[in-house]
């Protein structure tokens, strides 16, 4: 395996030394490009009180291409599908090498506070979010209790 770029070493050190509040990202023992991530559900969102596991992988040409990020914990959100894939512009066409693991995870946390049903990935969730927001939020809270609070 090729040597780890200086940038990845630096980002990892900074993540461990100055962690982002509400976010933990720890590199895997066997693969320094694979991170075990936990994001806490933001206050005043239907995900409050939940601990959401994600996986983050830095591809070979990082930072020229975006990290691959996926929710492992089930979540009821219009921009996150059943497989945990995330619809977020900075992970796709709005990626820039000036962004970092830290900023990507902050953006994902912000997405939990501000679901965007007009740019959906989970169509049924987005549909309900648009026609009956109260019920959608009730579902999101229920899923948070059921899947993101048990340990």
């Amino acid at each position: 395996m090729a040597a780890l770029p200086r940038r990845i070493i630096k980002e990892t050190q900074r993540l461990l030394q100055e962690p982002v509040p509400g976010i933990s990202a720890v590199p895997d023992d066997a693969n320094a490009r694979y991170f075990h991530v936990i994001v806490t559900g933001p206050e005043d969102s239907p995900f409050e009180g939940g601990l959401f596991k994600l996986e983050l992988f830095l591809p070979e040409d990082y930072p020229m291409s975006a990290p691959k990020v996926r929710f492992i914990t089930k979540i009821y959100h219009p921009n996150i599908d059943r497989l945990g894939r995330i619809c977020l512009d900075i992970l796709k066409d709005k990626w820039s090498p000036a962004l970092q693991i830290r900023t990507v995870l902050l953006s994902i946390q912000a997405l939990l506070s501000a679901p965007n049903p007009d740019d959906p990935l989970a169509n049924d969730v987005a549909e309900l979010w648009k026609v009956n927001e109260v019920e959608a939020i009730r579902n999101a809270k229920e899923w948070t209790r059921r899947y993101a609070m048990d340990n």
Binding site: P5, R6, R7, K10, E11, P63, M64, S65, K92, D93, K94, W95, S96, P97, A98
Partner: protein
Amino acid sequence: MGNCLKGSSADDISLLRGSESTADSSSSDQLGPPPPYRVESLPVYYPSPNISRPVTQLTEEEQVKIAKRLGLIQHLPTGIYDGCKKNRECVICMVEFQMEDCVRYLPCMHTYHVKCIDDWLMRSFTCPSCMEPVDAALLTSYETN
């Protein structure tokens, strides 16, 4: 003159025919399948940030796009880091600029290592820090000068 033209065009056709038939047989018979390291060494281009293609598989439109981009990049000023800039770290590689490093200045005044920013500009013609489209800024600077 007329004879010359006729003669040369006839020669050209025969040459083409000859080279076509020999190219097919010689490339497969003599060279065989290319060794793996040659495949890896083929340059890969990014006509769009999410599309990567080996140089041999680019469409004509993509080739034009990449050629234009290469030309535009050459118009962006470069310099040697002299230690007096405020931003001490290249945000792409996160390594501090060292004296004598080759740096490139974008029209928005953001500075990067030449190697780092050129790699990015070949994928997306935007400044990584401010997302300003580099070619738009270039064109306005041409207009004002």
